[in-house]
Symmetry: C2
Subunit: 245 residues, 2 copies
């Protein structure tokens, strides 16, 4: 899957994505990360990508033409009009379902804003989807683009590898993970729970399911509202509620 990133900081890519799982996916050509410098598509002699806002106010606004032309260049390169995402706090909130959905595409164009925002006409002319990472303000769209690429890449078959299916991770089953322990058995007076040393697989499985449910209930009860619980999980949830009562 290709990711064409329209940015004024092309040197930031692949950056952190060159390491670990996404780094391997890059080497194996399962993903292609292609930063496109918006400045290369300016036409005035100073290479300005921003200008003053109409109507006044502080800050600068990213001009529509360079982004539009950079986008057209991507379309020409890819031989299709690619699905185009703008990273902005005004967008729909990114989540795991969206990562899975976008991972089915051949590729994506990601537009990274800076300054006080991007001329509204860019949204109207080229953007299919506006995505926000969450309710916080960041300096630019580059870090959010990296996050989105990481989450999407993990959903592409072959990227995470066989050790563990990403389908077991948090959110894949609408609940948080159970606690994990490794050696030593005792550390600073804290011992690994006995059940995990028992070798009794069905008890371990049940303990983990219960802990995952318990944590989800305590921290993110909203996740359980729409969750499909199997009978065993319903039972565990009743047990937890009794214990909490």
């Amino acid at each position: 899957m290709y990711f064409d990133i329209l940015t004024i900081f092309p040197d930031l890519f692949p950056g952190p994505l060159a390491e670990s799982i996404t780094g391997r996916a890059l080497k194996e050509e399962l993903i292609d990360i292609n930063p496109v410098d918006i400045r290369d598509f300016t036409q005035d002699k100073h290479g300005n990508v921003d200008d003053y806002p109409y109507g006044g106010g502080a800050g600068m606004v990213m001009k529509p033409e360079p982004i539009y032309r950079a986008h057209r260049a991507c379309a020409a390169l890819r031989g299709e009009l690619p699905e185009t995402v703008m990273l902005t706090p005004q967008g729909e909130t990114f989540d795991q379902d969206m990562a899975l959905e976008l991972s089915q595409l051949e590729g994506l164009v990601l537009i990274c804003g800076h300054y006080e925002g991007i001329d509204e006409r860019v949204r109207e002319l080229v953007v299919d989807r506006e995505i926000s990472l969450g309710d916080y303000v960041l300096t630019g769209g580059e870090l959010p683009a990296m996050i989105v690429i990481d989450a999407i890449a993990r959903m592409i078959p072959g990227v995470v590898g066989d050790e563990r299916s990403p389908r077991q991770d948090s959110f894949y089953q609408d609940r948080l993970d159970y606690p994990q322990y490794t050696r030593p058995r005792e550390f600073k007076d804290l011992r690994v729970p006995e059940v995990l040393l028992s070798g009794h697989h069905s008890r371990i499985e049940r303990w983990r399911k219960k802990k995952a449910l318990k944590r989800t209930l305590a921290r993110r009860p909203d996740l359980l509202e729409d969750a499909d619980l199997i009978e065993e999980e319903q039972e565990l949830l009743e047990e937890i509620k009794e214990e909490n009562a």
Copy 2:
């Protein structure tokens, strides 16, 4: 404000944070980004930071001792037991209020997980707060740490500069931003709204407030539920609801 980052990928820092607004804050020593390599605190000869999970299952778990020792080293360096955040999908969801709150601190330790998670005892022994960026799974905590640092740094006085107060940004007033336009007046048959060319400041102000409210109502009505609306905004909201009806 200092950020001590416990990671197995110290070379990723400051990385993207060396550019733009956070880059300037680094140069002006308003923030200090200090990656701490967890591997430097291993004691076995192979420098292993992870081990098999007790109770079985796929993947590896990050061992408690190296992280604990790295954390103690930070505490010694800083002369205090620093507020310690773990980046994990199990945490409370990060938002602008949290960024503002954390920006009041002298410093933060950020622990970046990898593999299938971190031994539970690290949470119990050193973590004050678990923070999640949102409901999606990522390869590690490094990109989330960068996002959190960016959002927090912008709240530190002097970092964003005088051009525009971060208090005007999205979420600072519980609403999305209004649309922005810059030159040219017409691009691809799309014209800048007349009001923005009028020079009539109070009309422009009113138009922007209305657009911001309209967008928030359409995309994120949840943000308006707890918002304190002044009388003018109440009126605008009524107008919008009538127009939509």
